[in-house]
């Protein structure tokens, strides 16, 4: 299994790790195949932009790298724009993933979407 230099960089030095206390949105996804789990927390500012994104992940090198990557991509982005980041976008940004890992540990986009949906729900309910 060979990881790109960028993947190596991101699992070695993951960015934006940890928990946001009182987040505006939070999403957790899990992979039934190998049991990895990923949670993404977001903070949204008044311009509807993602001011902070953090993650925690149980998973392989690729799972950590994709989590880390998407937080970098998403921070500063418009929420609606970030919602459309795909698994492929993340993989591309990392200069590719080993084929077997492409669908398995690349859950970051799903987790971010879940977090944004959670944010929209909260907003609708007037919780924010």
């Amino acid at each position: 299994m060979q990881y790109s230099d960028k993947v190596v960089d991101h699992y070695t030095n993951p960015r934006n790790t940890g928990v946001i206390k009182n987040p505006d949105g939070e999403g957790t996804v899990g992979n039934p195949v190998c049991g990895d789990i990923m949670t993404i927390y977001i903070k949204v500012d008044d311009d509807n932009k993602l001011s902070d994104v953090k993650f925690s992940t149980f998973g392989c090198g690729a799972a950590i790298a994709t989590s880390s990557m998407i937080t970098e991509m998403a921070i500063g982005m418009d929420v609606d724009e970030a919602y459309h980041i795909t698994r492929n976008d993340v993989a591309d940004e990392l200069d590719g993933l080993p084929p077997i890992k492409l669908h398995c540990s690349n859950l970051a986009a799903d987790a971010l979407q879940a977090a944004i949906e959670n944010y929209r729900e909260k907003k609708e309910k007037g919780e924010l």
């Binding site: 299994m1 699992y11 070695t12 993951p14 790790t17 940890g18 957790t28 195949v33 190998c34 049991g35 990895d36 789990i37 990923m38 949670t39 925690s56 992940t57 149980f58 998973g59 392989c60 090198g61 690729a62 799972a63 950590i64 077997i100 398995c104 540990s105």
Partner: protein, 394 residues
Amino acid sequence: MAHELIYMDNSATSPVDEEVLKEMLPYFNEKFGNASTLYRLGVDAKKALDKARQQVADLINADVDEITFTSGGTESDNMAIKGVALSEIQKATDKNPRNHIITTTIEHPAVLETCKFLEKFGFEVTYLPVDEDGLISLDDLENAIKESTILITIMHSNNEIGTIQPTKEIGEIARKHNVLFHSDAVQSAGKIPVDVKDQNIDILSLSGHKINGPKGIGAIYIKKGVRFEVFMHGGGQEKGLRSGTENMPGIVGLGKAAELARENLETRMQHNKEIRDALIEKVTSQIKDAYVNGSLEKRLPNNVHFRFSGIEGESLILRLDNEGIDGATGSACSTHDLKGSHVLAAIGVKPALSHGSLRLSIGPENSIDDVDYIVASIKKVVDYLRELSPLWDN
């Protein structure tokens, strides 16, 4: 890298010993003759072949003409099981089918996949379960034997968790019922005493690169008189049992590695045990929720196998690599097919926990002085990954 490399994956593969390599070198381009030829270069090759065969025989207390060289442990396992199966099937009749094989759920894939292959062709295979230490039950074994049983193939010790099976007793049961007994001793040979006579073994596999010998070479012991169908057909080398131009540097290297392993068996066992026990003691006392997989008593002296809750093995291995420590994991995420370790499943480790497993396998180059650094590094990495993990309650 934070530290000079500490290689602790010797059960996966090991570096070739300097002395071994020195013996091998002339056979690449000085004494490069073919052992089957007539001229002196060939005669020299033949002598070297015989010497190496004796060295390997001595390691496992076999007779010299009971040793055949193969391309590695995998070939020895394939040859052993297919050799018996195909030879016996020719003796079978409708009333006396001779198509049953007994093995365990924790064998190396070289054994398991060979058994599965034979199942496709009409063989019946019993996979004995193991207890939480990884040990089979001798009663289970004896109960599984029936009229049609031709072969028991049970590993001498396990490559993941290091559990040593009661080989001598298995062999006794096999003899009593007139069934052949093959033992995959790839992890045992050179690590603990292996004695085919005392341990009642009919066929045994071993591999060069697990004992600081070269890769691509192995050997099979076949007790005199055992009927055997050829696996590798051709020019009739190795008394017709294994064709193919002899891999002379490999054979000479395996011979030397076997000799060194035999001569240093006691000291190496002592050395390995000391490091093993220090690692177990310190890791389980210094790291929360750290457990040892496999038996503590019936365990290879060079094997340590931990599980840590809340983390995943591939990321553990990769971060340990950054600390200069090379180990292995049974995590599904580290494999080609995203299936977790069948051995950990067999001893009842839950998938979530088998994910966070770490095997450190010790070699002669490791030092007791490194233990504190290793333990501190594991602790650092485990703590870091747990902090990252949604499954760990910080």
